[in-house]
Structures are given as C-alpha cells and as structure tokens.
C-alpha cells in the first residue's frame, strides 16, 4: 500500500495536450480549519477539452472542483493560498463578484438536484436570476438547452409539469440543461453518474462527449472506465496531492508513477 511519505514531490509540470489553457491552477493549497485538504496543486485545464479528476474518496478532487467556482465559500473555516485563473482573471481576486463568476461556470452535482418548480422554470433559472424575462429569449434558451441535454423530445409536451416527476436519469439531464442554459464557458461535473443506472449513465456520457469543443468540461469521477471513455486529459489525486496528470490514453496505458499504476489497476482505492 501507499504511504504518504513515499509519495513523489508535488507534481509541478504536468504533461498536457497542446492548446490554450482555460483554467490554470497554480500552487493551490486549501485548509478546512487546520486540516490541509489540498497540497500545492498545479494543473492547467485545456480549453474546450474534457478533463477528468480521478482518485479514491477523500483525495480532494471534489474540493478542487468546488474551488474553481468558489462553491467552497459556503463552508465556514476554509482558507486557501495560491491561485486559480479562468482565462486571465483570478477567481480569488479581491472584490470579485462571485455570482458573475459562477454565471460563467455551470455545475452539475453528484445527486440530481432539480428545483421544486416546473421543468421550464428549472432550465431558465440561470437566465431569470440574471434578470432576463423576455418570453422569446427564455423559450429559445429552454429549447436549446434541453436539446443539448437530449431531453427535449421527452419533455417538450410537459414543460409546465413539476421537474420532480421526472425519472432519476431525466432529472440529471435536466440539471445538465440547467447548467448550460446560461451559456457558460466552463462546465463542472461532480460525479454526475454515480447515482444512475447503466443506461442513464451511457446517455450522460454521450452528452459529455458532445460537449467537447463547446465547453471546457471538468468531470470528477470514481469510475476509471468512465474517465478513460470520455476524457481527453486525466488528473489523478491522492491524499490531497496531484500525483499525475496527462493525456488520458497515455495515463491509463503507461502511468509514470507506481501510485497511479496501483490505482488504475484496482489495487487500492
């Protein structure tokens, strides 16, 4: 088994695909109170590509994901050092309007969490809170988003019905539609398929694949097969450290570290 002391020095130059980086995480550390959860993370995330974060439970991958849209702000006693940049701007910039930051970043959660409203209102929620109320704009955004989430044909006749009447897989696709309705640059997905059956999972993976080229997608997953199927770039985390990052195919076929090798071959985690 791995001992934290045997781990290599924090990964400083991850090997990446060529292309412009959309998100760059630089020397990022995070503490819950006095416990350090993330240790000196350095990772560029490619624009319009799909990046997956893998690693055993508690390795900090979700924490890092939620640091990108500053959802961790909701938790008391969090402190960070280092920086995360989206484009040229730091998300931890002083006087940054967090809500406008989050409007540029869509997020899909582990458990589907539609609002207790109609399907229509769920999808146009990001627009409504931005103060958009023109019917034609909302209608168009709802249709486009639902089509992108492959849900339009299933719900187009019952847009006014409660979103809670949908099945689990449909609810998760609705959440994806909601996340992209505001036309964000980045889409964060926190284990989006962990509560779904294989068929729904396949549908969502298909959707994620279609996002390539439109959004910068970061997906946290427990399923290594999912990571290898959908992502272009993979980052492996262990005990709050980034162990290895690189093109997905390379990382799975010839990992550089023993820890990665052990994890992807299922020897721990």
């Amino acid at each position: 088994m791995l001992n934290p002391n045997d781990l290599p020095a924090p990964f400083s130059h991850p090997e990446i695909l060529t292309g412009p980086a959309q998100i760059s995480i630089q020397n990022f550390n995070l503490w819950y109170g006095k416990a350090q959860a993330l240790h000196n993370i350095n990772l560029p995330v490619l624009q319009h590509a799909i990046t997956s974060f893998i690693g055993p439970s508690g390795c900090g991958k979700s924490t890092l994901l939620r640091s990108i849209n500053r959802l961790n702000d909701l938790i008391d006693n969090i402190s960070v050092t280092g920086d995360i940049k989206i484009g040229e701007r730091s998300v931890y910039e002083r006087h940054l309007d967090v809500t406008s930051l989050r409007k540029r970043i869509g997020m899909v959660f582990q458990k589907s969490n539609p609002f207790p409203m109609s399907i229509y209102e769920n999808v146009c929620y990001p627009l409504r809170i931005s103060g958009i109320s023109q019917r034609n704009i909302l209608d168009e955004a709802v249709e486009t988003s639902l089509r992108s989430a492959a849900l339009w044909d299933e719900v187009k006749d019952r847009l006014k019905r409660s979103a809670l009447d949908l099945s689990g897989g449909q609810q998760q696709r609705l959440c994806i539609a909601r996340a992209i309705a505001g036309n964000p640059e980045v889409l964060l997905m926190d284990e989006p398929c962990s509560a779904l059956d294989p068929i729904s999972t396949a549908k969502i993976e298909e959707l994620i694949a279609e996002m390539r080229g439109r959004f910068t997608v970061v997906i946290v997953t427990h399923s290594m097969s999912q990571a290898s199927r959908v992502s272009d770039q993979t980052a492996f985390f262990y005990l709050g450290r980034l162990i290895e990052a690189g093109p997905t195919k390379r990382l799975f076929e010839s990992p550089h570290t023993k820890a990665t090798q052990d994890y992807i071959s299922g020897r721990f985690g």
Partner: protein, 573 residues
Amino acid sequence: MFGSSKMKSDSQSLSNGAPKPSVLFKTAVRIRSKAHSNATEGVPWIWVCAGALVTILLLIAGMFGIIIAQGISALWPKSVIQLQHDSQTVVGMSMRTEDSENTETGQPESKVLVYQANRDFGMNEFAFVPAAKIGTSDKPAQIWFAERAEWGPFIGRIVSPESAGAADLNAGQVKDLIGSAAVRYKEIKALEKGPLADLNTDIEELRLKKRATERHLELGELSAAEASAKISAIENQLSDLQTKHASVSEKVQTLRAADEAVKATLIAPNGQTKTLPASQLLNAYLPNQLSVPEKIGIFMSRLWSFVSDEPREANTEGGVFPALFGTVAMTLFMTMAVLPVGVMSAVYMREIAQQGTLVSLLRIAVNNLAGVPSIVYGIFGVGFFCYTVGVSVDQLFFQDKLPNPTFGTGGILWASLTLSLLTVPVVIVSTEEALSAVPRSLREASYGCGATRMQTLWNIVLPKAVPGVMTGLILAMARAVGEVAPLLMTGVVKLAPALPVDGHFPFFHLERSFMHLGFHIYDLGFQSRSTELSRPMVFASTSLLVGVVLLLNFVAIKIRSQLRKRFEGRGAF
C-alpha cells in the same frame, strides 16, 4: 421421490406409534415458550406503550364525545312531561336524575330535575321531584314550548287574547302568528340597521367635525369668522340629518306600535296568564306531537339560529354569532400579524445572521418565550398596546373623541397583536426547522447557477420551507383560538354592541371590543345568573369552539398538503 418417501414415513409413524395427546400439548407449549423468548422479546413493553396510546385516545374520544353529545342534546327538542306528586303537578322537561340524601331522614333518594321555564309566571325554573313520590307521568299532547325574546322560554298553552282561555290556538294559527310577526320584525330591523344606523354614523361624524372646528378656534388656527361660518354650515347639515332621523324613527315607532297590537295570551300550567305582543314569540312547537323528521328539522333550525343569531337574556339564550365571528376574525388578524414577523425573524436567525453564541442564546430565549404563561402576555398587552401605544394613537389621530378612548382601550387589534406575541415563538421555531430542512444540494444548485444569497432564499429556500411554515402557523392558530386569559384584558367583552367588521367605512373597525367563544363559555359557565340555566349553552358553545378549531386546522392542513404536493412532485404549476 424424496418428498413422497419422507411423507410416507411420516404418515407411518403417525399411524403406528401415534404420540399421546399430552406429549403433543407439551411440544406445543415448548414451541410457544421458545418463540416467546426469541422472536417476541419485549412483548410487555409493546403492551405498555400500546396501552398508553389507547388510554390517551379514549380520553380524547371521551372528551369530544361528552362535549358534542351534550351540545347536541342542548339543541334537540325534548318532550314535555307532566308529573303528579303529593297532589302537585309539575310540567316541564326532564333534565336528569340526581342521587342524594334526604336532609330529614338521611335516607338516600333520587330526584328528577325538571325544567319548568316560565320565569315570569311566578314559577321556579327548575323543580326537583323525588322519584319515589311520582304518581302518574304522562305527556300531554296540547302543550307548547315557545322561545321568547324576553323572560326565557315558555311551556304551556297559547290562546287568542279575545277569547282568553276558551279555546287553544291550533298549530297553524300559532305558526301564522309567529310568521307574520317575524316579517314585521324584519321590516323594523331593516330600518334600524339600514337608514337609521347610517344616519347615526353621519350625525356622530358631524358632531366630531364641529368639535374639531371648535378646537382649531381655541388654538387660534382659525379666525372667529371662519370658525363660525364652518360651524353654522355643520349645524345646518346636522339639523337636516336630525329631521331625517326623526322621520325614520317615527316610521319605526309606527311599525312597532302596529306590531305590538297583535297579541297572544299564554297560560302557564299554574293557571297564570300573560298577554304579550306576538312578536315576543320567536318560535313555538308542540314537543309531544313531533315526529322524528320534525324533530330533526327543529334541531337544524335551532342549530342555525345558534350560530347565526345574536345572544339574548344575558347570553344564556339565542345565538353566539358575534362570539363566533369575533373568534374567527381575531384568529385571522393574529395570523396576518404573526406570519410575516415570525418568518422574517426566523429567516434572519437561520439564513442571514452569523451562527454563534449570540444566535444560540437568542434561539434559547425564543424557545423560552413559548413557555411564558399567557396571562403575562395579557398584562403586557394591556400595559403596552392599550395604555401606551393606544393612548398615543388617540392623542395623535382621535383627539376629537377624547376623553372617550378609541384605541386607548381594549380592542380586537390589541388582542390580536397580544396573541401574535404569544404565538410568534411557535412560528419562529417551526420556520427555522423548515429552513434547516431545505436540502443543501438545492442551495448549492442555486448558488452554482450564479444566484445571490437573496435570490436563493427567495426563489428556492423559502418556497421549499412553506409547508413547514404552515405547520407552525397551524400550531399558532390552534393555540390562539383557545387562549382566553390574555383576551380578558385586551378587549374581549361579554356583549359587544357591534361587530369588528361591518358595512360602514372603513369596514374594519379594529379598535372595537369583541366577543370570543372561549370567553363566552367562561362567562356562561361561571358568571351567569344560573349555571343550571346556561348549562346547555355552555356545551353547545364548547362544541362550536371545538368545531371552529378543527375547521381552521383542517383548512390549514389542506392548504399545506396542496403546497407539499407542489414542492414534492406530482402536480402542475
């Protein structure tokens, strides 16, 4: 193959060496005791818990059963019996039998309590008849039971005044008599409550205007010439109105005189007679000639007049409409006051304030507030609302009516506000619980879309918490409807001259004192001339109060389940 061979061997063993019954019995006992020790462990505890629940249910069912049964029997038309004892005749309604000791002999004896009514015929309303001494007992057919506007009910004969005592009026004649009197009564009431009441209001308004002008003159805000011009204009209007008032009153007087000319003569069982205007008789029936459907009809009409009429005879007769109205109106005003304040406080404590020692202390304080005796709130209400806020309001806005207080005394507004103080902890606590039960994932979804804290609160958290808030509101209403002690000081009265809501501008008269069912019950039960006399009304009013509480709760629960449906799927928006 296996099964059949085994069955065969079993049947052989049964037929060959069948075990004796005692052995079978022992086996059964052993199996049962084994089962007892393993599978049904803790059975006595289950029985104790179930017993506790059943006891409570029986007590509650018994309480409602007694109250409602007594309430129904108060309105049910009873038959009139005629008892002979010791050469005396007692006519009346048998109320109940009481066991007691004879004061002279010390022997136990039972007495029948008979309600004789006829207070103004030189008779006792109630008579105790020793059961042992009753000679004959029968139910005379031709005996009337009549409710009257004054002096309570009458039991006896109704005859026409011209041929006094000669012949009883038949049922149709009595019905006509009462029916035509009711028409005339309605006509008079329509005049009194319509034009006459309007004129009175206008005259009062003008009088206040005149006083205000006089006050302005004293303060030097008006010159003498202006003031006198104004006053003379007002006086002109006033005299005009007074002429109108006089003509309407005269009309009323004429109608009254015509009404009183139609008379009926009552003959009590003791032979005394009394001739009175027919309109004094509100309804009358022959209790011993009623079929069951007729009895049900009379019961229904009495039930209707009980909830829709005003009280008579110091509240011991007639209806309870003003009390019912006051109870419901006060509860609704209280709800309107408590809901926004309670919800906003809870939102601040749970969603906005920094959680820490101060908020924890505040929370404990709010919880403790729910345990403060209601009389304390009453004292606070009268001291703060009536005598501090109310008096200031009077001095600022109702100067012309002083020294008569408007808001500076008890009224439905102050009573509602006092009760909302009393119930606000309940609303705060349940709202806080509802807010904390809103899943974190929903808030995160909203924040993740870029919503601000206020947008999240308003669009996601509050709607989701509404059913929980409704639970708090139901509890608050249930407590407020039943509360009497704080009302005693803050505006409830035995008999209110006018309802707090009526057709005169501004329609809601929140300064008015009001009647309340809870206080009505207390007043009837403990403050009336005769507890025996008011007993049926006490039970009927109590049943009604229980009914009002159940109805209000039912409505609130219905609304809540509708909302729940909406927020938990299976419903359209």
